[in-house]
């Protein structure tokens, strides 16, 4: 209908031609996401998955949900002048994610990588829903992003997660503690309530998106063993070996 669409398709065709020419396999990559509360140990687990896959010679890339300088500046200004609303808080993060998605995750997938995402769109779904954005609006906002092939949910009672964080980090930041939600005037109490709400959202998302739940109270190596077994069973790892893709 619009010229932009035509050029999109012609781009897709060019990419396909390019792939044929360079003998890249036109298989799409695999996306594996890790979600869970702060302190659930998901970063450690995903890092170990990355080590396992790269040591066994696979094309793998680990991507983290880090805020860019742009977002940090905007949030800082927003906070100082009290500008942020649930909608704009959500949008600022969507801008950041979109940039990372289109410049990193999507190209990795198009070129046949196993992409490991330490936090993905569900982090936004949980956090922004707690702030009052509607689920329908959020699902639409992030609809440009591929739903992961596997999503591991590191499930931990929010009480335990909060204790883990508080014992390691003496200071909790304003938004991390959900202070903008006016849950409690005291930072630590606010953090506890906030994390409990996020945990409840994650449990709901787990049903909706068929998360693979991992008991995050178990010893690290036991969790890792389970995760590796699941990945090996569900994904044809041989096709992601180095050297397969030229």
């Amino acid at each position: 209908m619009h010229a932009g669409q035509i050029s999109y398709f012609s781009c897709a065709r060019k990419l396909k031609n390019y792939m044929n020419r360079t003998k890249l396999k036109n298989t799409s990559g695999i996306l594996i996401a890790a979600e869970g509360l702060d302190g659930s140990g998901k970063s450690t687990q995903l890092y170990l998955v990355k080590r396992w896959l790269e040591l066994s010679g696979h094309h793998v890339y680990l991507t983290e949900w880090n805020s860019s300088v742009m977002v940090r500046q905007a949030i800082k200004r927003g906070k100082k002048k009290n500008l942020l609303t649930p909608t704009t808080f959500s949008l600022v993060h969507a801008v950041d994610f979109s940039d990372r998605y289109h410049r990193q995750i999507q190209p990795l997938l198009k070129t046949g990588y196993i992409a490991l995402a330490d936090r993905y769109i569900f982090t936004a779904f949980a956090r922004d829903a707690v702030r009052g954005c509607s689920n329908a609006w959020l699902r639409n906002l992030y609809s440009f992003a591929k739903v992961p092939d596997l999503t591991f949910y590191f499930k931990l009672p929010s009480k335990v997660a909060v204790e883990r964080i508080l014992s390691n980090r003496p200071k909790i930041k304003y938004y991390e503690a959900g202070m903008d939600l006016n849950l409690h005037p005291e930072v630590y109490d606010s953090f506890r309530i906030y994390q409990t709400k996020i945990g409840a959202e994650y449990d709901r998302l787990s049903q909706e998106f068929n998360f693979i739940e991992i008991d995050a109270t178990l010893p690290i190596e036991i969790q890792q063993e389970t995760i590796r077994a699941i990945i090996a069973e569900k994904i044809d790892l041989a096709s992601f070996k180095n050297g397969e893709v030229v």
Binding site: G4, V95, W137
Partner: protein, 226 residues
């Protein structure tokens, strides 16, 4: 009573929005700014309190958006979301409070411009529509319809060079800036006229004289206010 397009904004009570929201749409060079100044005069002369707002002026991401525009490194989806952030910041922090206080908000463009730019670049219409589903349906929307030839003439009246984005140079339509401008503006115009039914734009012939355009617009506003 005011209504939202698709769903209400979190924590916003429409019953308290007593003001009026009036939007002027049209490309750069369509005479929007001139008309807004004249309408504001007319309204204030009648005793109405007016608040102006325009795109890409948000406190939240205004500076970053300007940098992004200059750098031209963001993909189209990211840039759309960036503009959406800017728009929603002003919507929630300028438009809503003014309406709550009983002002007339004269908006120098609304999300329709952002939507048209996205659609011309091949964005999914549903996606864009849903993102802006949390905005208010304005009381009146005027679209200043001006031919691209006329727009380019007006460009020379206010600037020495052409603008990268206004010329749609990111779209690869032509290596020639003027040709690109004409094709791009024509496409935008088509999209606007397509959106007209859905969003109830009042199309104003922007090729007419300044005073006669003001007259047309003011007549409609007068009807709204009585």
């Amino acid at each position: 009573m005011k209504r939202f397009y698709i769903e209400p904004l979190p924590k916003c009570n429409v019953n308290k929005l007593h003001g009026k929201l009036i939007v002027l749409e049209g490309s750069d060079g369509s005479g929007r700014t001139t008309q807004i100044a004249k309408i504001k005069n007319w309204l204030e002369g009648k005793g109405y309190a007016v608040v102006n707002c325009e795109l890409a002026r948000s406190q939240l991401v205004g500076p970053e958006l300007e940098l992004a525009r200059r750098g031209n490194v963001l993909g189209p989806t990211t840039l759309s979301l960036f503009y959406a952030t800017d728009f929603m910041d002003q919507f929630e922090n300028v438009i809503i409070p003014a309406l709550r206080a009983g002002f007339i908000v004269l908006a120098d463009r609304y999300f329709y411009t952002l939507m048209a730019r996205d659609l011309v670049r091949g964005a999914d219409p549903k996606w864009v529509q849903n993102i802006y589903g949390v905005t208010l349906i304005p009381d009146l929307v005027f679209y200043l319809n001006v031919s691209p030839r006329r727009l380019i003439e007006r460009r020379w009246q206010k600037a020495d060079t052409m603008d990268y984005w206004e010329s749609g140079m990111d779209m690869g339509l032509s290596r020639d800036w003027a040709i690109s401008f004409l094709i791009y503006q024509q496409r935008l115009r088509k999209v606007f006229l397509k959106l007209q039914d859905k969003y109830g734009f009042i199309v104003v012939n922007g090729n007419k004289s300044i005073d006669s355009i003001t007259h047309d617009i003011v007549t409609r506003i007068e009807k709204l206010l009585t």
